[in-house]
């Protein structure tokens, strides 16, 4: 009998060793996984801290409203850039939102056929097209044909980035409206377009607005397609047919200059840009995600993923 109890002890030790080792590995992996999260958040923290720290000292009323002074002087401001960013966001929304919304309606209301499946597929692929290629496309379609840089070209390029995102989020939110709503509309004898616009869309409104705002925050930071379409300028907006400035472009141009004052202005512009973009992002999140936790929270997440 002594042998068995010895063996039992032996097994017990073996088991203990095995479990200890496994628990140790588990612990190590937990630490590594947590470290991954921290490593990813450090850059975000650093970016925000640096932008705020360096940008604050550049901010002043003149900086926000005046046109840039002569290069390297450190005078003037980024008025034209802020104005340009707002103009370009407005114009591209003007083109991109209707197309995106209608396309989303098509995919959700008529989207059960082969054509719709291929549209959905190309929509997803189009969303991932390098933005600089879209810029070149706009350059070839508009700038080269007109023979001069044009604000419309920039708006067209950005609308191309915008509409697939909107189409996707619109489709998702329309699909979440219960079919019984539509049936109720049909039972009232309403026309399909009335049902869609008055019933379905008003039920899915917040999801769609979320998608639209997220796409706006996406294009607000785009630089590459603007290089070949609106070029950048140091004057306030005067006409659609001359170059215009935008915040991301201004930041890029300033970062190329070897002066400390330019660098400071670059941080200041970055601060303005990041406040606009994170403001939209956080605002949308807070507003819609908190109001209803279920469907809308999910939608906000989806919109973010679809984005970038």
């Amino acid at each position: 009998m002594t042998t068995t109890s010895q063996r039992r002890q032996e097994y017990r030790n073996l088991f203990k060793q095995n479990v200890e080792k496994r628990l140790l590995v588990d612990k190590v992996v937990r630490i590594i996984v947590f470290a991954c999260v921290i490593i990813a958040i450090i850059p975000l923290g650093s970016i925000l801290v640096e932008v705020f720290k360096n940008g604050m000292s550049a901010l002043s009323y003149e900086f926000l409203t005046e046109a840039p002074g002569s290069i390297g002087s450190g005078e003037g401001g980024i008025g034209p850039a802020i104005q340009g960013t707002l103009i370009i966001i407005g114009l591209s929304s003007l083109i991109g939102v209707p197309i995106g919304v209608m396309s989303g309606i098509y995919l959700s209301e008529y989207g059960d056929n082969r054509l719709a499946r291929s549209i959905r597929f190309f929509n997803d692929v189009f969303m991932e097209f390098p933005s600089i290629v879209l810029g070149i496309f706009a350059f070839l379609m508009i700038v080269l044909v007109l023979g001069h840089f044009s604000v419309w070209a920039g708006a067209f390029a950005l609308s191309l980035i915008m509409f697939p995102i909107i189409a996707r989020t619109t489709e998702e939110s329309l699909k979440m409206v219960p079919v019984t709503y539509r049936e109720a509309g049909t039972a009232l004898g309403l026309k399909k377009w009335v049902i869609t616009f008055r019933i379905v869309i008003s039920a899915a409104k917040s999801g769609m607005i979320t998608g639209i705002l997220l796409s706006v925050s996406r294009i607000g930071g785009e630089t590459a397609p603007l290089i070949m379409t609106i070029l950048g300028s140091s004057q306030f907006f005067s006409s659609m047919d001359v170059p215009m400035d935008a915040l991301p472009l201004r930041i890029w141009r300033l970062s190329l200059l070897p002066y400390d004052s330019a660098q400071l202005q670059g941080w200041g512009s970055a601060l303005v840009l990041i406040i606009i973009i994170l403001g939209i992002n956080l605002g949308v999140r807070y507003f819609f995600a908190n109001r209803k936790n279920g469907i809308l929270g999910q939608l906000v997440k989806k919109g973010l993923h679809a984005k970038n």
Binding site: D26, V37, A40, M102, S118, D124, V133, L134
Partner: protein, 325 residues
């Protein structure tokens, strides 16, 4: 109070309004197909002169000279630069992202939610601000603390770390790219991991698995396809990224841009376009050459994204099947 109209509407009136509505929606839907077709057609036709002039050597040669009379264009260095930076970014970013996805999918929602949100905020930061931060902040630390030691240790023996660490090179650009793809890859990985049926996880726990063993036994085998898809999606993002790379890669041209060491300046397809597009005159071959670069970039990006898309949707279909059963 108006009278309630019980008369049936005129036949034909109703269909017309709805038909118009349907046509409008269809046109908007088809818009994306038209744009894709037009885009490819425009790029091909506008870059045609360069294919005519250089032929296949446009892709295989390494010299790049836009000076009048001595024009010669080869995009091989930029293709290599793009692929090297993007794959390096994937190499760094994907393990981190999968770790993040593991943590967030597993943590209690009170911790996981806000952390996941912070990681997603990384995606909201514009590319040009990554560039600015990389150029003026990150580069300086990275040069002193990572590149210099690497160079001192391996500079003579391993060709990867030869060259002078200056901070404007392939390694810096790749690390920034890695940070930029983390939100995408971790978000998709998380979705994919969520798709693993709860029963499988519980079965693993029931066998006495620790948390890590549960991931190894139940989650990874099940979500493998989706995770690969997520990483390739990240690769696609990295390939198309322009501004941050342009500001950090050092912008070498021609043969000097061939990525022979991680600590050397190089150039990617998107950065050469961003740098030179405004200098290129439409009359010379320079502009068709840059459009040719864009065409090559687009084809590579499309190929990568279609593969990623198919892998992820395949995985998600499996999920739906599992729920229905």
């Amino acid at each position: 109070m108006g009278k309630i109209n019980l008369k049936p509407q005129k036949p034909g009136r109703r269909p017309i309004a709805d038909k118009l509505f349907k046509i409008g929606a269809t046109v908007a839907g088809v818009y994306v197909l038209v744009m894709v077709a037009l885009l490819v057609f425009q790029l091909v036709s506008e870059s045609y002169p360069i294919w005519e002039e250089e032929g296949l050597s446009f892709i295989t040669s390494t010299d790049w000279n836009a000076v009048d009379g001595r024009e010669s264009f080869g995009v091989l260095p930029y293709i290599l630069g793009t692929l090297v930076t993007a794959s390096l970014a994937m190499l760094i970013g994907v393990p981190l992202s999968i770790g993040i996805a593991m943590f967030i999918s597993d943590a209690p929602p009170k911790i996981g939610g806000p952390l996941g949100f912070l990681v997603e905020l990384l995606a909201a930061v514009p590319s040009v601000i990554y560039g600015l931060w990389g150029l003026f902040i990150f580069r300086l630390y990275f040069k002193d603390w990572v590149e210099q030691p690497l160079h001192d240790l391996f500079g003579d023996s391993v060709f990867l770390f030869s060259g002078t660490p200056f901070g404007l090179d392939i390694l810096t650009a790749s690390v920034i790219l890695a940070i930029m793809i983390i939100p995408t890859v971790s978000a998709v990985s998380r979705e994919v991991m969520k798709a693993v049926p709860q029963q499988q996880k519980e079965a693993a726990y029931m066998l006495g698995a620790t948390k890590w063993e549960m991931f190894k036994l139940a989650v990874f085998p099940y979500s493998k396809t989706g995770l690969i898809g997520a990483s390739i999606l990240g690769l696609g993002r990295a390939v198309g990224e322009t501004m941050a790379v342009t500001m950090l890669i050092g912008n070498a041209t021609g043969i000097a841009a061939v990525p022979s060491s991680l600590l050397k300046p190089s150039q990617t397809m998107s950065s050469i376009i961003a740098n030179q597009f405004n200098e290129a005159s439409p009359a010379s071959l320079h502009l068709p050459a840059l459009i040719g670069v864009a065409l090559v970039l687009l084809l590579i990006a499309i190929a990568i994204n279609i593969v990623a898309h198919l892998l992820v949707t395949k995985m998600m279909k499996v999920k739906e099947g599992a729920i229905n059963n």
